[in-house]
């Protein structure tokens, strides 16, 4: 029998109501407490006109309310739309409009952001988590009302596993975010794979490193709930201070870590790991970027008891390949992304979607139970990204085009070669260079813009932009404009003002020439 995401909370609460479900900054919710609050939120939502398959947006900072918002939205029969709490108002507006969310779950600390967003989103009719006295132009229901509605039993809403579960957002090339829809079935397929692969159990403690609007959090929150384990939320303060982070990991006895490599590099270099007892960490999973070998070797030696896994997969597919690393002396160069998970079938194809021979580079296609339902409200993107291939019996399999260039190694492992387009990863966040360029070009003073990724010296990437400006704007002005339009990780670390941009014969910006030009010191007047 298939399980729905939110029903995992009820199951865990019935088995071990006193077990910790989520811990943050010394505070805790047990599964019993979480289940009651989740049911309370679902009842509030249902009592105010929410209909099955509506969307409920959740705009919360990291904390104990996050799983209440997540599971409460799902328990009401809605699809959850988690929004990056650091998003500027414009991005919040884009997501609310694109998903058609009429209900928003938030908190007093986000009041001003909510107020700005609602001014542009008249379709939002209710905000949970703010007070009626806050003076917003919609119905507001405070968290105290949710607490008063707490109940042991979830409402009956008739959700089935093929129904939408959540819509995650990444950046989009036109300034419109890509909205990735997963059903309960595709999410649970990933959860069950992860539970089996990493032998998760009720005594595990999974760290939550990433923001909860990312696919990393799917593992941190839902896989933990599947086995009644605890999710330990790592606060922004702890993540910014490696010494505090390692102390927190020791104190909380974290057993499973999942993040981008950058976070582990910081922890390894500045976390005083040798001074801590981190023997509870039994498995380290990393994904999203290349892990610099010297850093990987060091942290593997710092945590000798832990197993390490390189997992691969975009938000659209959850995880589709994984590679369990041998010891620190036996790492491959480059590090493989591994073999297809038991939930997935992979295929490497040329630009005509024909399979290539082993050893040849091609685009990776993925078919399997963890693949998304599709991009929300974007049939054209779905036609491009989800391709059908004939299968036995006259049926067809649906494959997701990852856009990643890979090849099959002699030992059967896949290795990542490059992205096929202009998506890059900045500290684990997927950023489309064209989106950043679009934001630059939306500034009145910018005439031309090109953005590319450079190494940040910490094992990740940073963005660098070159612009051709009309007038004489200061880079500070341009940066200020970008910060109003983009999330922090999409804002370039450096901006160069040039006389012109190098172009290829077809007229496209020649990023390689630009990168080479900017590498020359002392020349900012244009090529």
């Amino acid at each position: 029998m298939s399980v729905l995401l939110h029903r995992m909370i009820d199951g865990a609460a019935q088995r071990r109501p006193e077990a910790p479900a989520v811990r943050c900054d010394g505070a805790e919710l047990t599964y019993g407490q979480l289940a009651r609050r989740v049911n309370g939120l679902a009842r509030v939502l249902l009592g105010t006109g929410l209909e099955r398959r509506d969307r409920v947006a959740v705009l919360l900072r990291k904390g104990l309310d996050v799983p209440v918002g997540f599971h409460g939205a799902l328990a009401s029969g809605a699809a959850l739309v988690p929004i990056d709490p650091r998003s500027p108002a414009e991005q919040v507006v884009r997501i609310l409009r694109a998903t058609g969310a009429r209900h928003l779950v938030s908190e007093p600390a986000k009041r001003d952001l909510v107020r700005q967003a609602l001014a542009e989103c008249p379709e939002v009719s209710q905000v949970i988590g703010l007070e009626p006295e806050d003076g917003l132009p919609v119905r507001c229901v405070p968290w105290s009302t949710v607490a008063a509605e707490a109940a042991d039993q979830p409402p009956a809403v008739g959700t089935i596993d093929l129904d939408p579960a959540y819509i995650l957002h990444t950046s989009g090339s036109t300034g419109t975010p890509k909205l990735i829809l997963h059903s309960h079935r595709s999410a649970m397929a990933f959860v069950d794979w992860a539970v089996s692969e990493y032998r998760l159990a009720s005594d595990d403690r999974l760290s939550n490193h990433s923001s909860h609007h990312t696919c990393f959090a799917t593992f941190d929150y839902y896989a933990a709930a599947r086995v009644g384990a605890a999710t330990v939320v790592l606060t922004p303060a702890a993540l910014m201070m490696p010494g505090s982070l390692s102390a927190l990991l020791e104190r909380e006895r974290v057993s499973i870590w999942y993040s981008v490599p950058t976070a582990l590099v910081h922890l390894s270099l500045r976390g005083e790991i040798e001074e801590r007892d981190l023997s509870s960490i039994r498995w380290v999973l990393f994904a999203g970027e290349t892990f610099p070998e010297k850093h990987l070797r060091r942290i593997m030696r710092q945590l000798p008891q832990a197993r390490f896994s390189h997992v691969y997969g975009s938000t659209e597919v959850n995880v589709c390949t994984c590679h369990h690393l041998p010891d620190a002396d036996g790492l491959g160069d480059p590090l493989p992304i591994g073999r297809a998970c038991s939930t997935s079938r992979t295929l490497v194809v040329d630009d005509q979607l024909r399979p290539v021979a082993d050893g040849e580079t091609g685009e990776l296609l993925v078919c399997g139970s963890t693949v998304m339902s599709g991009y929300w409200g974007d049939p054209e993107a779905n036609r491009h990204a989800l391709v059908r291939r004939p299968s036995a019996g006259g049926f067809e399999d649906v494959y997701f085009r990852t856009g990643d260039q890979v090849r099959v190694l002699e030992d059967g492992n896949l290795t990542f070669v490059a992205r096929a387009d202009f998506q890059v990863k900045v500290r684990g966040h997927r950023v489309e260079l064209e989106e950043v360029e679009a934001a630059l070009l939306s500034l009145e003073s910018v005439e031309e813009a090109a953005v590319f990724a450079v190494e940040d010296g910490e094992g990740s990437s940073a963005l660098r932009a070159a612009v051709v400006a009309g007038g004489e704007p200061a880079t500070a002005e341009i940066l200020a404009g970008l910060k109003q339009r983009l999330p922090p990780y999409s804002v370039p670390a450096e901006i160069d003002i040039l006389g012109s941009l190098p172009r290829t014969p077809t007229g496209k910006v020649d990023r390689d020439a630009l990168r080479a030009h900017l590498a020359k010191p002392g020349d900012c007047d244009g090529p």
Binding site: R61, A237, A238, M240
Partner: protein
């Protein structure tokens, strides 16, 4: 808060230099910061900005930040950074 000696800056001066750097280099125009504002909440500064702030602290006040000092207690707000700089530079001048 008077200077303890002639070579290292007084607490007030440290605080002012920190606030000026944060305002001019790390925040968007018009955003204000106070000595007690939480710099590590993720709301005011992102992780890159915090790294830049730490680099500034080491360079501006001419001492090396030990890995063990990268803790919340030393960087939560301008007031505690000031105390940390004052302690770290004691006897170095």
């Amino acid at each position: 808060m008077a200077p303890d000696d002639g070579s290292r800056p007084a607490c007030r001066e440290i605080e002012e230099r920190l606030l000026e750097f944060i305002r001019l280099e790390l925040l968007s125009p018009g955003v204000t910061v106070d000595r007690q504002d939480d710099l590590l909440s993720g709301e005011l500064l992102d992780s890159v900005a915090v790294l830049r702030l730490a680099a500034f602290v080491g360079e501006e006040f001419a001492f090396e930040i030990r890995p063990a000092d990268f803790v919340i207690e030393n960087f939560q707000n301008v007031a505690v950074i000031t105390d940390y700089v004052h302690r770290a530079t004691r006897g170095s001048g």
